[in-house]
Assembly symmetry: C2
Homo-oligomer: 249 residues x 2
């Protein structure tokens, strides 16, 4: 296929914005003309570091990334996972000082866009601005769900919820079917995202396997029983504010 040799472009990001607002041809055109710098990243590449002030905004084109914060004594908390098409730091356009880190978890491609260019884009194309608003607001909604998840659900539900969310967002992004998943993150990452320890993530993962909710071998994960997993997770995708996928309803 051609897409395997052609360099990646902003198509996935435009597709994501299409899901957030009804873009017109004018909007699409403006987006396609947006200048950007392409970067091919290794796994582990730190894109943005807490405390830093950025002048460019980055969009994830391929691969997976996460955002995380660290306590004084070095405990890491992942606050979000990202996949192709996601803006990784839209907020830095308005709040230049980074309050968290952004890091690749797999290898992948990133597009860097000047804040100034984004600023004029949002000023001149209100529908695009609207889509960006929605993106930021949905992200905030996901943070709230994570607070609930970590604060009030036990390890089993918590982990199940994270898997459900990942599957749902993956499906919405058109990456693949929601029930045969290649997890990009290590069990360490899952632990840091759920506020658990690696050891307990491991045990909980196999507990979920044992009861047939999931089938996993390493990072190959299949959802054995969607309804059961969703019930365990107390998962209701409404907080994602996305058009309901047929698989997830």
């Amino acid at each position: 296929m051609l897409s395997e040799i052609a360099p990646p472009d902003l198509t996935v990001a435009i597709r994501k914005l299409e899901r957030l607002a009804a873009l017109t041809d004018v909007d699409r055109d403006a987006l396609r003309r947006l200048p950007y710098r392409l970067e091919q990243c290794e796994a582990g590449r730190m894109l943005i570091q807490e405390g830093q002030t950025a002048s460019d905004c980055c969009i994830l084109l391929t691969g997976y990334a996460c955002r995380h914060k660290v306590t004084q004594d070095g405990k890491r908390q992942i606050v979000a996972f990202h996949m192709q098409g996601d803006f990784l730091d839209l907020q830095h356009v308005k709040l230049p000082r980074a309050d968290h880190n952004v890091q690749m978890i797999t290898q992948g491609d990133v597009a860097w866009i000047r804040h100034g260019d984004l600023h004029s884009l949002m000023r001149d194309f209100p529908i695009i601005a609207d889509a960006c608003w929605r993106d930021v607001l949905i992200e905030a909604s996901v943070f709230r769900e994570w607070v609930l998840n970590i604060g009030r659900r036990d390890a089993r539900a918590r982990l199940a919820h994270l898997l459900c969310e990942f599957a749902a967002r993956r499906a919405a992004a058109g990456i693949g079917p929601p029930d045969a998943i290649e997890l990009p993150m290590s069990q360490d990452d899952l632990a840091d995202a759920t506020g658990m320890t690696v050891v307990h993530v491991n045990r909980t993962l196999r507990a979920l396997s044992a009861e047939g909710a999931i089938v996993h071998r390493g990072r190959q994960l299949r959802v054995g029983d969607w309804d059961r997993l969703k019930r365990i997770a107390d998962f209701d995708p409404a907080y994602l504010h996305q058009a309901v996928s047929s698989h997830m309803s």
Copy 2:
């Protein structure tokens, strides 16, 4: 004082926006002319309920409110506290379906503004729109810090952090000095905000008292030793993205 008999107006909200962007006289004028409906709320009044679609946006003028979500089995998680001047549901202008509840925790006054009016305001007055952007983005930053707080800090640090944040925001809002605080929330609320149980909140609170970090009698709270409390909490106010207050630096 006159302010005790005059009905509350949008002044506190305008003052908050002033802290978020450099408003001009034109902006201030537009804000003062904004039509709104005033509501005097009892403690416990549900302003917005999850699942509901709202046509008005509410601003807290006096008193305190919180936002919370509930799991299937009835466990409540508070995701944010709010004080005078705060927008309580700016997001519903762009995402009409509420993904969480908004509730008064004390009695207080609320101004209801039509979404349409806010929409035109933000279209016609870019500096106000900018301030709203910042408000939403800072709120998201606070959510991230809460994820870290609940996910990776132990009960003592977690509660201390919540108190530090509350004191800092309270001071920034000009409500009073940051070291003699009347807490508006019950220990139940503190528990639901930190992902703990009431019992453990109670014990942790007196542990903090015992070591001299705070002095509390019921809801009267004095910070006994700021530096100690901040150290316990691992509190760095950078994530609040506010001009640094002299008391908190």
